[in-house]
Symmetry: C2
Subunit: 325 residues, 2 copies
């Protein structure tokens, strides 16, 4: 390339890196650009990475890709990254929220830092071993592993759900709990119990369920047909579970929301795909991604980003109404 343009390697580097102003003549720069265009020349990133010792690439580790939440987190992260000349590469951890295999062996990308969303802190030891700056999203803020944290106010979202249901007169409330060991779901369970008991109501039953429609359906069946008076509301950890819960209610001959109110969490596309549309908690997923990338960039710049907690909103739709009788 340098030969074709009739200049030195150094000059090519300056021009391609847009650092030539005041150091290379306009004429020479133009010649380099022309030659690059004709040759389809692209700087070898591996060489640049080696020389610079950084890659301007971040890895976003997520538990699974089947959830729009993570897609939106990525969108937000990628936007902020682009503004800073960085890129984001996705690593869907093959084992859900469990131990993430070393992404370096897997993605083989060289990375400047990693952002992990909704992962168990323990699941990230392999990644930590790389010594890379780590920003944790939607994870236990008390864990000291991360150089930065961005959280959703999950507890508040759960409290909003509880208050909404209490205001509608519900007192017997069951919880369809995601059968996933992560901070975000532990918070939901704890906040729900606290909010209800402090108001004189109670979680009359808690049913664990994997994050699928079918699992939500059978958990809801158990919750609605178990011993004791039937719950009048089902609080679900996730919209997918809530969709299953609505189907279960219908199969039992119960109307949603007249006989049973159902709430979701996340506000995925599924929340409005089902009938009735789900009352749920909307999570600012893109903002989470944006804040996460901003935090990582600060860490990379040697700064110490303050922890961020983002508010969430209850979206009241048609799956909740006044408790029967």
């Amino acid at each position: 390339m340098a030969r074709v343009a009739g200049v030195s390697q150094a000059t090519v580097s300056l021009v391609m890196g847009d650092k030539w102003r005041g150091r290379v003549s306009e004429r020479t720069a133009e010649a380099v650009r022309t030659a690059a265009r004709e040759l389809g020349y692209r700087p070898n990133l591996a060489a640049r990475n080696l020389r610079l010792g950084l890659t301007r690439t971040a890895l976003l580790v997520v538990p699974a890709l089947t959830n729009e939440f993570f897609a939106r987190v990525h969108t937000g992260a990628a936007r902020v990254a682009a503004e800073h000349g960085m890129g984001v590469v996705l690593y869907p951890s093959p084992e859900g929220t469990g131990p993430a295999r070393d992404p370096f062996a897997s993605s083989r990308a060289t990375l400047d830092g990693v952002i992990a969303s909704s992962m168990a802190a323990e699941a990230l030891t392999d990644i930590r071993a790389g010594g890379l700056p780590l920003v944790m999203l939607d994870s236990d803020p008390a864990r000291p592993e991360a150089a930065g944290t961005v959280n959703l106010d999950i507890a508040d979202g759960t409290r909003q759900v509880a208050r909404h249901l209490l205001a509608l007169g519900h007192r017997r409330i069951a919880h369809l709990a995601a059968d996933v060991d992560s901070w975000t779901f532990r918070v939901r369970a704890r906040a729900l119990t606290e909010a209800l008991t402090s108001a004189g109501a109670a979680v009359v039953r808690s049913e664990p369920a994997a994050l699928t429609v079918a699992a939500g359906l059978s958990a809801a069946e158990r919750a609605l047909t178990g011993p004791g008076p039937r719950p009048t509301a089902l609080v679900c950890d996730d919209d997918v579970l809530a969709a299953g819960a609505c189907k279960a209610a219908r199969r039992l001959g119960l109307r949603v929301p007249d006989d049973v109110s159902v709430t979701g969490f996340d506000d995925l596309a599924m929340a409005t795909a089902v009938d009735p549309e789900l009352t749920t908690v909307r999570l600012p997923a893109e903002s989470v991604g944006e804040a996460g990338m901003r935090a990582l960039i600060k860490v990379l710049d040697g700064e110490d980003p303050a922890p961020v907690t983002l508010p969430v909103d209850l979206i009241v739709r048609d799956s909740t109404t006044a408790a029967p009788r």
Copy 2:
């Protein structure tokens, strides 16, 4: 590292690369491994990439991440990649199926090849400019851009839908067509028209819709309330659209499937989340990813992979029944 282990750089390289057998003594190899463990040493990938001229990493370009189909394609591709010591990095093209910005500028990873799923061929010119081997998934097999292609038998899936509906006595069928310019949707439209007209039926109406529940809903409203006799069946390009169509029917006081049958496509989680569950076409997404990665590996090995077409299956559930009257 070499200094700590008391051996040369070359020896370290041999041991870390697992190429030491018969060339380095067991004793020395063990010493290297121990030192590596203690130091938390990891070979610098940028240096290795530079030296080797390859990265054993493939890029998977997808239109968007909000769809499980692509998540499953990735899962399949990653599995095959891992078996061959490769990794797969995801690149969700920011503009849907439209022009993909140069992923090299964005992901900054150095790549051996790219796999593109469901993208318009024209959208990949930037990527092609990199001169990397390209495998296209779920894309026009007639385009010569790709070194390998893996397709779904979308036309056959559409024909299965048509035959199913015809057998149920439907003759007035409307099409909710995804408002996305890609091969996969063009095939659906063409195959549907052909299958119906050759059986003496017809697509009485075709309504374009973006790939959201809300868009599906309003497109279905248009299809069901337009001039002429009402269609008895709605063939939707996608499960999301079908979910919207079911809601539209219900709002118009029509029962699904008794008054209108509705079919989806893809068999996403949403297909069983809604009530009634959707009759739809199941796509072997993971197999698509696996076959795509296998094809890329062949190309990388200098072979010429044969085009693959994977069969798809109609899944009959509760959203279709005999035509009314």
